[in-house]
Point group: C2
């Protein structure tokens, strides 16, 4: 039997507990949806103010040079690189995740012109599926996107496969895939490997270098706390730079952007994957958010993340036995930083819980999803969240008629 | 002979003079580069703060519904629509100009499958040329991009032309094209017409409805003052909605984005052209900037713009006869809101002028470019700018050795 006092002691012993003070959180609310949208960090707030009041207001157009705006996508890329195990000069911050996937899929299909299949996972986020289909349709040759169950990957990997595109952490279940093993298999079959890190970056340690990953992309607004619709990031392993073409080229990716040349000639390195300038204000928010990750290691984050999700699972199973089906893997090796619970009336559960100040989210048709961001979620929060969940389930308030009609976003 | 007092009187008579108070401008500096990056407006500042401190910090993930984030691209589109003469439901704000051109060019080539040429202008901004080439290369059939001198348009317009893509105002010379006449010619030849409004929106009245324009796009950071790298906008005439396909589809353009369907099915109307979410913070800045345009008509802006550029040209020709070649058309009908002066040592001129507190910009190889934004540029500013230009030319300080090596951005 785990008591609230036990959780308080765990918080006292938590060496990264003080990072919570850097966030603006609502009094009395327990936020377990940082895997959908992270909260405001004070550094984001400060950095946005600095960009508007100093760089933009005073520097005006000069700030493209004097404030380094031209280099912001690559500077922030280098700042983010350690979070995914990339080397300097391999990461770029710009655009949105879907556009960056378009660039990588389009480019990769040019690299493997003798092959005509892209393999991806039926459980992938749907935007990934739409953009890979769209880029395959424009490859200039017949390319088939095979949307398989990822467990059937071994059978599907043959000589026809140009690219394997998978999301590292399943957005519904929170299952984390074996990045090293799958990448190795893809390479053994002669295919390129592209990972979507939307639910991984900032939540679990990643090692693109050690895993020999070719390409990756991820978003800035979930565990990185970069703000709603924050710019995304792109990883291109060094060996593919200067080889991989950007299928959506723009002037800022030109080797001489201010020479106004009629023909596109890509810049060196990651700059070639910049199309046009992302918003400096949007970048500023993500920039500030990344500061926090310089005060913590991904191993510290991982250790606390597993402790938080272990605690949540234990409490739910203890207090509400048989009420939910645990969808997230129990094994640490395949569990990321969220816990998904299946319940036929999951939508009502999430809504009722929200009214009691615990914010999780619902994923159709029956998944209650709870994200645990070690930077600001405390062990007592987990305890209190489960207490409130018990109240919701015991009172059956999740069956309230107000929850019969679903909101588009939950 | 125009005196400074004459200019002061013109300012006194200027009915939109008070709008200048809404901007943060540097004391003593004359900013004639709003055609490259507009300055900070107080409303942008306020709206960004509101989005961060209230919508993001307090509303968190709920703001996708409660603060209307889901609908921001179309809401801002409708707010911007009057500036280009579009109807409600025909404009969207998102992404960057290059990505939006990619969507329009890719979509348009699908609409005209029996034709295989895109016509564009050699004087076009280079990013436009790169993206049209890239999308043509991925059209799924051989498509040729003919980069012509726009004066040769009549000869080039034949039965092969699927799309004519032109920039309404030449970014170097400030020449404004005949939108109605050219669109009519394109249509008479059976081609679709796409206009780039980068240097038009907020600077000159536009009437896409009256001119029967098919597609248009423009940026948010020049005359609209939306901030560095602000989101861009897209216009799709109502008759093409539901017909034009988005070649870069994403989940937010799906008719049921939260049903996670495997197949892309476009939403109705402009929403189909949303790929994924733009930064809400970046949108907020543009949102605030657009408020100002609700306090002024485009006719008022146009009248003052022409008066400012008339004054500038007259003063330069009076005070510095024969020193510069006037590149911008003298005729009102073909002049937008900038004046371009040619000088062999133009780079040094712009740099020296900047040191004297007049900010213009340089466009390779020899163009000194001055933008006049009626919302905040005064007639005395024009007078004082020319006085300082006279000092720079008389003192020959533009020949200073410091200006021998060009900065990448000027």
């Amino acid at each position: 039997m785990i008591l609230r006092d036990d959780c308080r002691i765990m918080d006292d012993l938590d060496e990264i507990a003080s990072l919570r003070d850097e966030f603006r959180l609502n009094e009395g609310e327990i936020y377990l949806d940082g895997n959908s949208l992270g909260p405001v960090g004070e550094a984001s707030r400060r950095r946005v103010t600095e960009v508007i009041d100093v760089e933009w207001a005073r520097g005006l157009v000069r700030s493209w040079n004097s404030a380094g705006w031209m280099a912001e996508p690559t500077r922030l890329g280098d700042k983010l690189a350690p979070l995914i195990g990339a080397r300097p000069g391999e990461v770029l911050v710009a655009d949105t995740l879907t556009f960056l996937l378009a660039k990588l899929v389009g480019g990769a299909l040019e690299l493997k012109k003798d092959r005509h299949v892209v393999l991806t996972d039926v459980a992938n986020f749907h935007s990934d599926l739409y953009i890979v289909e769209a880029m395959a349709a424009r490859a200039g040759r017949p390319v088939t996107v095979k949307v398989i169950n990822r467990n059937a990957l071994d059978d599907a990997l043959d000589d026809d496969v140009a690219l394997v595109m998978l999301t590292h952490v399943d957005f519904r279940t929170g299952e984390m895939l074996d990045m090293a093993g799958i990448t190795k298999k893809a390479h053994a079959a002669g295919a390129l490997m592209l990972w979507d890190f939307a639910h991984s970056t900032g939540a679990v340690p990643l090692d693109v270098t050690g895993c020999d990953v070719d390409f990756a992309a991820g978003c800035g607004y979930k565990y990185l706390n970069g703000g709603p619709g924050a710019p995304a990031f792109l990883y291109v392993r060094e060996r593919w730079q200067g080889v991989l073409e950007n299928p959506l080229p723009g002037w800022l990716g030109h080797v001489r952007p201010f020479d106004f040349e009629l023909r596109y000639e890509p810049a060196e390195g990651m700059q070639a994957f910049v199309t046009s300038s992302p918003s400096m204000i949007a970048l500023a928010s993500l920039d500030g958010a990344l500061d926090l990750f310089e005060r913590v290691t991904m191993d510290q984050i991982r250790a606390k993340s597993l402790a938080l999700t272990d605690l949540f699972i234990a409490l739910v199973e203890d207090r509400l036995p048989g009420v939910f089906e645990l969808v997230t893997p129990r094994e640490h090796a395949t569990r990321a930083s969220q816990v998904a619970l299946r319940h036929a009336e999951g939508y009502g559960v999430i809504q009722a819980l929200s009214e009691r100040g615990v914010i999780g989210d619902f994923r159709s048709p029956d998944i209650c999803r709870f994200g645990f961001t070690p930077l600001y979620v405390r062990f007592v929060d987990v305890f209190d969240a489960v207490e409130r969940l018990v109240e919701v389930m015991d009172s059956r308030m999740y069956r309230d008629a107000r929850f019969a009609v679903r909101n588009p976003v939950t």
